[in-house]
Amino acid sequence: MTEVDVKQKVLAANAAAAAGLRETFARAGTLVVNLISSPGSGKTTLLEKTIAALKGSLRLGGLEGDIATERDAERLRRTGIPARQILTGGSCHLDARQVERALAEEGGRLSNLDVLFIENVGNLICPTGYDLGEDFKVVLLSVTEGEDKPFKYPAIFARAAVTVVTKIDLLPYVAFDLAAVRDQVASLAPEGRLVEVSATTGAGMDAWLSILTGALAKKRAAVGATR
């Protein structure tokens, strides 16, 4: 019987692929945002409104992770931007190699973008551990889900740079304690940003959009500095 020393990171293969992606995105000056939430919290709808607001001035693209169907990529394409569906076939998260493959297969269509949105599979747990080469993770929480989500799924709320509370136009109709969510998020991610939006009425969209354009400006400055 032999005990073999291994000392190898389980997610090393994913980390290596993510590092490669991050380098590619940095060279192109593309801001990459990884959106994570439970199913039905409004990721695709938020993206549709975000794209409508930004596509006049920025080159945008989308990757849509789902277990089945092309529906979300079709919704993004209808807004007039290139988008590709990644079907995970039962897997509950996207990994960096899937992103790598999807981008390679799209050829030039999803390169040289200003912003690439990656919409992860609807799930608050599994996507948390998989680096996709993004600049930051965004977690969405809709007011119809209940205000205890941040403490129930702390890993993603602690790691996301931005928390977006969605569907705030429904606040009068649901028992959702916004103040409690603000407190929970502040304790999990003291340096994170929190925005409260309604894609339907447009409330709060300016704050969300300015986070994106601010991050893009910062990334471009960093890319410019190394050129």
Partner: protein
């Protein structure tokens, strides 16, 4: 439930680490898992058993060393260990912001490999 994917990656790494050792089987794999690695211990054990069933690794044990995250308060200093899943990032004593380090481990540490001596002798005693 991404524990199945993690279990599969653990087995791939374990197999790779003993690939040049000739006939035999993996009987034990030791993993380090951090508090903040988003791994459910029970789900991982379940996934591992399901994965290895009916394969050469059937019955192999998966041992997990849990690695805590360290929480440090600027004012109060290092805090004693808190229960896994305690993610509050504010100091329970003074309310200050905590710095959290470590706890994101997810590593294969060691693999125990049992050589198949009978098969070795048949093959001419090599190894």
């Amino acid at each position: 439930m991404h524990e199945m994917g993690v279990a599969a990656e653990v087995r791939r790494i374990a197999r790779e680490s003993v690939a040049d050792r000739g006939p035999g089987r993996i009987t034990r794999v030791r993993l380090a898992v951090g508090d903040l690695a988003a791994i459910e211990p029970e789900l991982l054990a379940y996934a591992w058993d399901a994965l290895v069933a009916g394969t050469p690794e059937e019955g192999a044990a998966l041992d997990v060393d849990w690695r805590p995250a360290k929480q440090t308060c600027r004012v109060c200093g290092d805090l004693p260990g808190r229960a896994p899943g305690t993610w509050l990032r504010l100091c329970p004593r003074c309310g200050g912001v905590l710095r959290v380090t470590g706890g994101d481990d997810l590593d294969v540490l060691t693999v125990v490999f049992e050589e198949d001596d009978a098969q070795r002798r048949e093959q001419g005693g090599a190894g």
